[in-house]
């Protein structure tokens, strides 16, 4: 009885559930280990409308469903109203993430995009993938929103390999 209660409390404490996000509902840790091999070309994610991301908050795990874009083989993820999101705060403290894509898990490191050219490329990739638009001059307005502007505050990250390149 005590053991069941402890396990139940642990499962609840890790987030809303122990098996990653359920649709639009956030979840806890993914079960199973991360994909061992490093991915050099993420373009296979072009067919994935949504992916899961598991982030760390100390020993807790928090996972949600997000959008992703591949550009030149690299993978990017985005957050709308970013400062209000728990997973974004987690990534700010600990960039280690695991991605749930098509039933497989991939470990990586989320690196916030600050280069405007890279952000523009992500914006164009996003428009191609999700909106079906080719916009060669699209411009990303990622980052803080000036007062009076009503756009969502969008942040984007590149998913680098889990271990830094040597």
């Amino acid at each position: 009885m005590k053991r069941t209660a402890i396990l139940g409390a642990l499962a609840l404490a890790t987030a809303c559930g122990p098996w990653g996000p359920q649709g639009m509902l956030p979840g806890g840790p993914y079960l199973g280990g991360a994909e061992a091999s490093r991915v050099d070309d993420w373009s296979f994610t072009d067919d994935q409308m949504l992916i899961g991301i598991e982030t760390r908050d100390g020993w807790l795990r928090h996972s949600v469903t997000i959008l992703c874009v591949s550009v030149d083989g690299r993978l990017y993820v985005m957050a709308r109203h970013a400062p209000t999101k728990r997973w974004v705060r987690n990534v700010g403290r600990d960039p280690r993430v695991r991605l749930g894509i098509g039933g497989r898990l991939y470990a990586g490191r989320a690196v916030r995009i600050t280069d405007p050219a890279e952000a523009d490329a992500v914006a164009r990739g996003f428009l191609r993938k999700y909106v079906g638009i080719d916009a060669p001059h699209a411009h990303a307005l990622f980052g803080p929103v000036p007062a009076g502007d009503d756009r969502a505050e969008v942040w984007a990250w590149r998913i680098d390999p889990a271990e830094p390149r040597s």
Partner: protein, 181 residues
Amino acid sequence: MKARARLALVGVAVLVAGGAAWVRLFAGGPVVPGIGGGRLRGEPAAALPTDWSFANREPYLLVESDAWTLPYSTSAWFLAHDGRLHLLLPAAFGDDLARRLADDPRVRVAIDGRLYDQVAERVTGDAALAALVAPVVRRQFAIELGDGASALPPGGGHAKAEMAMYRLVDPPLRRDRPPPP
């Protein structure tokens, strides 16, 4: 021991069911992402705005539909454009509200604690939809479309997301109420 475990399970089930009922019926709106709430709480507005631009400062729009037996509310993507509210309902978030709107387009929206009655009209037609793309993409995804944007051929966007758009219009005046001055 077994009886105590059973009792604990029943207790947990009652708590979960009670919580779900509270969220669905009495919480005054959606409280859990991805799960609808019940009737919106707020003060009925004395008049309907002629320009809804002020609503754009809100990140989401609280929308209630009474189409089916129980009132259903959710926080939806939206945009005030050309003075009118527009609901944006991506299919990826589920179609709970869209299915209700198909049965009964009347909605109630809550902004700053005030409740406004509106009627949702589906935006259709290439020209009408195209006119919304740039403002929607800017507001929702912080992307300026720029010049020279063009639609990709069908299937060109690998994960082209379906998003239903609705323009909210004022409900017809009720005959038993005098028109506003």
